[in-house]
Structures are given as structure tokens and as C-alpha cells.
């Protein structure tokens, strides 16, 4: 769905073993909630957040450095 609200959303790409399993549209205000869904101790998934222009902004791998 394309309209003037596109900038309010990001796309979560859920990656397992290098393969893209799903793409989910999420409001920017809820990025933390969606991250919590996928990123937890023991999770081997990678989550990539892309902004509405397709620019890759955050990988969940950043949290593995903690």
C-alpha cells in the first residue's frame, strides 16, 4: 500500500541461515516491539530493518555485540 504515510513505516526482514523468510511492515514507533518478537537469547535469526526508501538501517546482529 503506497501513500503519504509510507515514511511512517519500516520493513523488517526476517532472515534464517542466510535466507529471507518474511518481510513485515511495522510503524517506526513500534520497532522496539517487533525487535522483541524476534530477538531474544538463543535466537539464531537475523532481523534487518529497512526504511521506506529501502535503505538498510539496523541489523539485529548489532545486539550480539553486547
Amino acid at each position: 500500500m503506497d501513500n503519504d504515510l509510507n515514511g511512517c513505516f519500516v520493513t523488517f526482514e526476517i532472515i534464517k541461515d542466510g535466507n529471507l523468510y518474511n518481510s513485515l511492515l511495522v510503524p517506526i514507533s513500534l520497532i522496539h516491539d517487533e525487535f522483541q518478537n524476534w530477538k531474544f537469547p538463543g535466537s539464531t535469526l537475523e532481523v534487518r530493518v529497512k526504511d521506506h526508501t529501502g535503505n538498510f538501517r539496523i541489523s539485529s546482529k548489532i545486539l550480539d555485540q553486547r
Binding site: 500500500m1 501513500n3 504515510l5 511512517c8 513505516f9 526476517i14 534464517k16 523468510y21 518474511n22 513485515l24 511492515l25 511495522v26 510503524p27 517506526i28 514507533s29 513500534l30 520497532i31 522496539h32 516491539d33 517487533e34 522483541q36 518478537n37 524476534w38 530477538k39 531474544f40 535466537s43 535469526l45 534487518r48 530493518v49 526504511d51 535503505n55 538498510f56 538501517r57 539496523i58 541489523s59 546482529k61 548489532i62 545486539l63 555485540q65 553486547r66
Partner: protein
């Protein structure tokens, strides 16, 4: 809102709950992958004006154009709405904080369980922006993982000020909420002072979403949880390169000194 419109909204939320509970819906969101067992699964569905938030215990619709929110939630007490409304009134009277305006509530029965339906409105008819938008203002990560080399001490100091300003802003809100909680013989809503629940519009900051919480947490539990989530946020800022260990420690010490004395 006219009653027939409200009836349509309630029916739409009920339909979304039914849809969310379908195995095929869960499969479309999760593809059989493991998700965090410690938090309720949730899903987002966008439409032309906003989005639906779907979960087992909460279904809501947020209009991104005007900040209007409708929701049903499974777990609630009448005191939640009473206390929330008192806190809203306190904010209006004192002018010291703004929260979403409580407009309407009623109880509805779904599958032999009484859910709470409610309508709220952001204070300036604007959905606003929150911490996540501010993260996107930081210098962009390289490949989504490496801190940007342009980050310097001036920026890090501004992020420290950002967190301390947030902590300062929570004081009046929590003080008033605690007074109301004591008067009503209840606890505090868990996410009252979450950083991601603080939104900004053209007038300033306001607080959202904690109307979904029950007023059940004692002050000590509340403070421990608030400190833990604040630290989580600052650790994220640290791996993004905009805070370092001394600055995180400084902010946490500041938060402890403020929050443990309310």
C-alpha cells in the same frame, strides 16, 4: 462519535481478534519460526490511514493522520480507567505533562470473557514521533551494524542530555501517578515512563500507550523495571556508538538518584 459508528469500530476490532487467532494468520506472520517466549506475539497490519496492532490480549487501531486510537484489551480493572482519567485531569490542571485524552470506554463480551473497549485521542490530534524516530536521526550505522565514524564527543554529550531530559520529564508524571495510585489503593501501570511511550508533536512531548496497562505494580517493582528498560535502551545507544560506558553509567546513576526517591 455516533453509536452506529462505534458499533462498527467494535465489530471491526472483534473481527481482527478472530482473524489474529486463526493459525493461518499466525503462520503468515511467523512462518513457523521461533519467537520470543517471554513476550506476547504481535502482528501489524497497515491500512490507508494507520495500522492495526494484533495480539492475543490487545487489538488496537491507530490512525496515523489524527492520532485517534481505538482498542480492546482482555485484562483490565475498572480502576485502570478511573486512575488514567484522574492522571489526565491532573496533567490538564497543572500543565506539567500531557497524556492521551481518554474519550470513552465500555465493556464488551467476547467468547464469554469481558473485554474493555476504549477510545483515546492524542492531545494535539497528531500521532507524533518517538524514540525510534530519534534513533534514525543519529548518524547512520554502516551496514546496519558498525557505528558511524562521524560520531564525536559533542554528539555523545547531546545524547546524554537527551536521556537526562527524559528522566527529568518522568518525575512529575510518576509523582502524580503514584499519588493517584495510593488514593485508589492500586499500583502503577508498568509502562508509564517508558522512553518509547514518550511522543513529540509540534507543541512538545506527551505520553501514550500506557492506558493499555493495568495499575498493579508496586513502586519498587515499577522502579526496577523502569531502570532495566532504560538501561536496555542506553545499551542499544552504546552499540550504535552514540554513548560510551562512562556516559551510560552517568545516565543510569542520574536515573537511580531521581527514581528511587519518588
Amino acid at each position: 462519535m455516533l453509536s452506529f459508528q462505534r458499533a462498527i469500530f467494535i465489530k471491526e476490532l472483534q473481527d481482527k481478534l478472530e482473524y489474529w487467532m486463526l493459525p493461518a494468520t499466525q503462520e503468515s506472520f511467523y512462518k513457523g519460526l521461533d519467537t520470543n517466549p517471554l513476550v506476547p506475539n504481535m502482528g501489524i497490519e497497515r491500512n490507508a490511514d494507520g495500522y492495526f496492532y494484533l495480539s492475543d490480549n490487545l487489538i488496537s487501531y491507530c490512525n496515523l493522520r489524527n492520532g485517534y486510537v481505538i482498542r480492546i484489551r482482555k485484562h483490565w480493572t475498572l480502576s485502570d480507567w478511573t486512575c488514567y482519567t484522574q492522571l489526565y485531569q491532573k496533567g490538564v490542571e497543572t500543565g506539567k505533562f500531557r497524556i492521551d485524552i481518554p474519550l470513552y470506554r465500555e465493556e464488551i463480551s467476547i467468547d464469554n470473557h469481558v473485554w474493555e473497549y476504549a477510545e483515546l485521542q492524542t492531545p494535539n490530534n497528531d500521532y507524533g514521533t518517538n524514540f525510534n524516530n530519534d534513533v534514525f536521526e543519529w548518524p547512520e550505522l554502516i551496514d546496519g551494524i558498525t557505528p558511524n565514524p562521524s560520531i564525536n564527543d559533542t554528539l555523545k554529550d547531546s545524547v546524554v542530555q537527551y536521556y537526562k531530559e527524559f528522566i527529568d520529564q518522568t518525575i512529575e508524571l510518576k509523582t502524580c501517578a503514584l499519588e493517584i495510585a495510593i488514593n485508589n489503593n492500586v499500583g502503577l501501570p508498568k509502562n508509564l515512563t517508558q522512553l518509547t511511550n514518550r511522543f513529540k508533536d509540534t507543541i512538545g512531548y506527551f505520553w501514550s500507550d500506557f492506558d493499555q496497562d493495568q495499575w498493579i505494580n508496586n513502586n519498587s517493582e515499577f522502579t526496577v523495571y523502569s531502570l532495566a528498560t532504560l538501561e536496555g535502551s542506553m545499551r542499544f545507544a552504546q552499540v550504535c556508538g552514540v554513548l560510551d560506558e562512562p556516559r551510560v553509567t552517568d545516565c543510569l546513576t542520574y536515573a537511580r538518584s531521581k527514581w528511587t526517591t519518588i
